[in-house]
């Protein structure tokens, strides 16, 4: 599969599962991603909601928090505040959550669908309208990818945004590094 490119100077919103898939700073995928976003001047953002979830995680998962922190310390990842007071942003979040629910298997109840997944779409919309920069959302599950993509297209934001499968993206980066 040809690698997807994140445009130079764009914004990439990442979900934590993509951070987990990178591994720690000593991992090839982590290093390839760091090198890529630094070289292409891509601003990497993680929604506050997602970062808070990590902060409240069991102590045994401190190492995941440390990975996030090392990316923050290195200066290529920042937390981003979602503006829930903007009715359009909350509307995107609600619609994405509903879309996730409708795409989920029959045994998934509404309570089991997390707003955290939908917040990624809300933040993408917020950035695309506030700043005139290309925005990519990096997620690593098929269903969230489809739901976010559907809602961003439905509100006419597909020109400024795209949804990227994060694990494939990382694998391609490492493969490209190895063939250079």
């Amino acid at each position: 599969m040809p690698g997807v490119e994140l445009p130079r100077g764009s914004i990439a919103i990442v979900d934590t599962s993509v951070i987990y898939a990178m591994g720690g700073p000593s991992n090839d995928k982590y290093q390839a991603f760091e090198e890529y976003v630094t070289r292409r001047d891509v601003a990497v953002r993680i929604p506050d909601h997602v970062a808070e979830e990590l902060g409240e995680s069991p102590e045994a998962y401190r190492y995941q928090r440390d990975r996030l922190r090392s990316a923050q310390d290195a200066g290529w990842l920042e937390r981003a505040e979602v503006d829930f007071t903007d009715p359009d942003v909350s509307d995107v979040i609600d619609r994405t959550r509903e879309r996730i629910y409708s795409l989920s298997a029959d045994d998934v109840t509404e309570d089991e669908v997390e707003t955290t997944d939908a917040v990624l779409a809300g933040l993408a919309y917020q950035y695309a309208t506030e700043q005139s920069r290309q925005v990519a959302v990096l997620v690593s599950d098929k269903l969230a990818e489809e739901a976010i993509d559907d809602v961003l297209a439905a509100i006419g934001a597909e020109k400024d945004t795209n949804v990227v499968e994060g694990r494939d993206f990382l694998i391609n980066l490492v493969d490209e590094d190895n063939t250079l």
């Binding site: 409240e56 069991p58 309570d111 599950d141 098929k142 269903l143």
Partner: protein
């Protein structure tokens, strides 16, 4: 290990329980699990080669080979010199609180990965092997687009960070396992 597994009603109880006892050692011993998967991937293979590839002592390798033989899932090819070994893919259906969970080689692989994968090791230490089996079940469903990782974490009744961490790790295991686990749908 705790057992929140129930045996399926439809299966022959004696046979299922027999299989469960047979495989218990395989599901509970990460080193044995790792050796089984290596032989499954590379068999027929000489025992000496397995020893070298996995860097396990001579006595351990032979002990595990003997155990797999007793389980009835290892064959020796004695017509070849040196003798080569191969193993059969296991298949065990369990009715659990998370629905029907099928134990196939990919689960054995996940169990063996505890030895060198921090994400899986931490999860098993905290939650046990039955929960790992359930996590694998949901990982397949997430990969099939049936739910998000966070929904799967809710169904597993673990913190989202714990759930997404183990599912992310298991996705790598599943992707590699499609090459040798005949029970995985592509």
């Amino acid at each position: 290990m705790s057992t929140d597994f129930r045996l399926t009603d439809s299966a022959d109880p004696e046979e299922t329980l027999g299989n469960l006892l047979t495989y218990a050692e395989l599901l509970n011993t990460p080193q044995l699990a790792r050796l089984y998967i290596h032989v499954l991937q590379n068999g027929p293979i000489a025992i000496e080669a397995v020893k070298e590839d996995l860097d396990v002592p001579h006595s351990t390798a032979y002990k595990y080979v003997g155990e797999l033989e007793e389980m009835g899932i290892l064959a020796r090819h004695e017509d070849q010199t040196p003798t080569r070994i191969s193993v059969e893919p296991i298949h065990l259906t369990l009715d659990t609180d998370h629905g029907e969970v099928v134990a196939t080689p990919v689960l054995v692989d996940a169990i063996g990965r505890q030895l060198n994968n921090e994400d899986i090791r931490v999860f098993v230490e905290r939650q046990g092997i039955p929960k790992l089996a359930a996590a694998l079940h949901y990982t397949l469903r997430v990969m099939n687009g049936e739910m998000t990782q966070r929904t799967a974490a809710n169904k597993l009744d673990v913190h989202p960070v714990e759930g997404t961490t183990v599912i992310t790790a298991l996705e790598d295991v599943v992707e590699e396992a499609t090459a040798y686990d005949p029970y995985l749908e592509p």
